[in-house]
Symmetry: C2
Subunit: 188 residues, 2 copies
């Protein structure tokens, strides 16, 4: 007998999922309500309106991202490799919240955009601390961004399945190492 998942959590998960798969347009209250198996009134008890629901998702991402940043700082492989590794969508809580909020940002939600900006900047700062050279750091960031968009966003680009995700990551990590070592040579 597992306790049924609280309605509030079911609602937020459903909203997140719909944002990812259908986009902001598809993430209507009706759709959320159906997916979460609550009534419209039930939803609106937990979240005053749609904006409040988006706000809750954004807050959730803020917390998950802060925790992840700490992990990134402490990762023995270093921030660059951690970042690229983490830029393939595997459906973790962080992945889902992140892509959901990206969708909101794409729909011109300024709070969502601001948070993403913060997160992205934190990543960049860590990478640059490790790598030194800002141009190489930027190239690594772009590589990770491309990866995220390529594979994580349904319809963002083609998900080109010739390149099997799991196989291609170690190869990309070698490219990252190549770039890092070049940055060291330059600074020396």
């Amino acid at each position: 007998m597992s306790t049924p998942r609280p309605a509030r959590d079911r609602i937020l998960d459903a909203y997140e999922e719909l944002l990812i798969n259908e986009g902001p347009r598809g993430a209507t209250l009706d759709a959320v309500v159906t997916r979460a198996e609550v009534s419209k009134g039930g939803l609106l008890y937990h979240f005053k309106n749609k904006e409040a629901m988006a706000g809750a998702l954004i807050e959730k991402l803020r917390e998950l991202a802060a925790a992840d940043l700490q992990t990134m700082r402490e990762d023995p492989e270093g921030p660059s490799r951690y970042l690229v590794r983490g830029s393939v969508y595997v459906g973790s809580d962080l992945d889902r919240a992140l892509i959901g909020v990206v969708r909101l940002a794409q729909a011109s939600d300024p709070v969502a955009s601001d948070l993403l900006k913060d997160i992205h900047r934190s990543w960049f700062d860590l990478v640059q601390q490790e790598v030194g050279d800002p141009v190489i750091s930027r190239a690594i960031m772009l590589l990770a961004d491309g990866l995220y968009y390529n594979e994580g966003l349904p319809g963002g680009w083609p998900q080109d399945h010739r390149n099997d995700r799991s196989r291609s990551v170690p190869e990309l990590l070698e490219v990252v190492d190549l770039l890092k070592s070049h940055a060291q040579q330059t600074s020396a």
Copy 2:
């Protein structure tokens, strides 16, 4: 006395612009109609419905992309550098159509996704012909993708204005050259 721009063109331009700036959600018939300065009936004379309007934009992109691919093939700097150069949004016809269609794909339009897939694959094929190594080719593609998303999509990621676009491109082209030269060493 310049002849007024035909209504059909004005409509398509307005739709494109709204897709880019407001997303599919904001690109309503009402909004298009206002921006293009036609009536709703006028719009629906030229395009039977919203889907037809999207279809026209997709066709427009198909033609622009085909022409661009030819240019890419013939560019003396080679496909890789051409691609990265072209991956900063400068508001060309191709840029605008491309981002517009990306938005449609994000809203789960399968025709839009398919076309983007084709375009992306064509780019990859040219890059790989030039570079040889598939992993390096992929890294270059990802770099270009990241660039496009970073700078081209309002809200996609942060547009981090610390990195001035125009200044950063030549630096990134050097990274591309670095990757290319590494691919040659590997194959030798």
